[in-house]
């Protein structure tokens, strides 16, 4: 339930800041508070006034898109969202909003594609779960819940060693992880869970190439043998960890928490018991 007193308080505080500095970007927060209160007209006025000064402020574009969505002007909501994406690139919030607008516009197929992608990257997120339910995708949630439920049980039961398959399954369902693959010394896939833009074979070939390049480079400056590489781009992170038997390649979204992921991976790597002989394609790291 929305606490209107808190919203009023927030509006008063933010308006003081805006009064002191007319160029402040705080207008977006004020507009959002008015929107949450249900005063869509005031929200639109404040947001539009601010956007006249800061046309490239993506957060304000998102607020404006939400205002139009609430006003059931879906075309304008869509236009504002596109302007937001254009000025700062895609974010998770934008993807969610895009799916919501698509649902309202009756483009269910497109909305499902976005929602499923979001759900696979973060199955625990309640907003995305609700989006999936709105799209009638309860089955996918139930199936994923079964997988998630089975993993802790398996881990607790042994609390010691895990197969490589278990490890890859656990990593894959970790929030914000887009894919994981174990690669041998020859650059061949041992096993992997990769979907989306590239296949696990492409990921393996690409990353073993990257690893070789980095090894050669670091040896040239006498840094010794490479153990770990982290590459960040605007949209994703690629983390390569060399273990005794394989190279573990993990692709994540750019907003993943590397600290907690590292702790988790270190723990899992220590607990990998063996690699299935049938799937192992020779050679170790």
């Amino acid at each position: 339930m929305i606490d209107t007193a808190e919203l009023d308080d927030r509006i008063v505080k933010c308006e003081k800041i805006l009064a002191a500095d007319a160029n402040s970007q705080i207008f977006a927060a004020i507009a959002e508070a008015y929107r949450k209160k249900g005063d869509l007209q005031k929200a639109q006025e404040v947001c539009q006034k601010g956007l006249n000064i800061h046309p490239d402020y993506a957060t304000a574009r998102i607020v404006m898109a939400k205002i139009y969505l609430d006003k059931e002007d879906f075309d304008r909501a869509w236009d504002e969202l596109r302007l937001g994406i254009k000025s700062s690139g895609r974010t998770r919030a934008m993807d969610i909003l895009e799916a919501e607008i698509l649902i309202k516009k009756g483009k269910i197929k497109e909305a499902k594609a976005i929602a499923q992608k979001l759900y696979l990257s973060d199955p625990q997120d309640e907003t995305i779960k609700n989006l999936m339910i709105a799209l009638g995708e309860e089955n996918l949630i139930e199936r994923s819940a079964d997988v998630l439920a089975s993993i802790p049980a398996q881990v607790n039961k042994t609390n010691k060693k895990l197969t490589l398959q278990d490890v890859l399954n656990i990593i894959r369902v970790t929030p914000r992880v887009l894919g994981v693959v174990a690669v041998n010394e020859q650059g061949l896939v041992i096993d992997g869970r990769f979907d989306g833009n590239i296949s696990k074979d492409e990921a393996a070939a690409l990353t073993s190439g990257i690893f070789d390049v980095s090894c050669t480079g670091s040896e040239r400056i006498s840094l010794g043998q490479t153990k770990e590489i982290l590459i960040e781009t605007r949209s994703s992170k690629l983390w390569l960890v060399k273990t005794f038997r394989f190279l573990l390649v993990i692709m994540t979204r750019d907003d993943v928490s590397m600290g907690s992921l590292k702790l988790k991976i270190e723990d899992l790597i220590q607990r990998v018991e063996y690699i299935h002989e049938s799937s192992e394609q020779g050679g170790g790291y």
Partner: protein
């Protein structure tokens, strides 16, 4: 007596990084590999590190072409004993060599150094200032935000 203000943000940035425990040396270069400044410690070869670091970034960009556009913004390589970071900001690269055991919070320092350089460039040379903040800064900001 007139006080001379230290306005060389490149110097400030490298000093800010080298004072961190475990950092062996820092170098800032332009996109062509021309060294702007370096702060060596313990036999750090800035020129060699810069050359290799930039070459690696360019090779990675080539490898990542079509998968991660517009390419690599931050590279971190950890070996048995060392930790090499190459981070991109506007038209410059910051290359940091540290001990492998240095605290991961060094990344926050690197992001702050990038921010210093970016804001300095934006202020002094707005025509060449970046349109977007570097990836490492975005990550650090999220981290800071989560601790607020």
């Amino acid at each position: 007596m007139k006080t001379v203000k230290n306005t060389d943000k490149f110097q400030v940035s490298v000093e800010y990084l080298t004072e961190y425990t475990g950092v062996k040396g820092v170098v800032i270069t332009d996109s062509e590999g021309l060294m702007i400044i370096q702060q060596p410690k313990e036999g750090f070869n800035g020129e060699l590190c810069a050359a290799v670091g930039l070459e690696l970034i360019k090779l990675l960009d080539k490898n990542l072409h079509g998968i991660a556009e517009p390419g690599c913004e931050f590279l971190s390589i950890k070996t048995g004993a060392d930790w090499l970071t190459v981070a991109k900001t506007s038209i410059f690269y910051v290359i940091v060599l540290a001990d492998r055991k240095a605290d991961d919070l060094l990344n926050v320092r690197i992001s702050r150094a990038l921010e210093m350089i970016s804001s300095y460039m934006k202020e002094k040379y707005p025509a060449v200032s970046p349109e977007r903040e570097p990836a490492v800064r975005r990550s650090a900001r999220k981290m800071e935000a989560s601790n607020v």
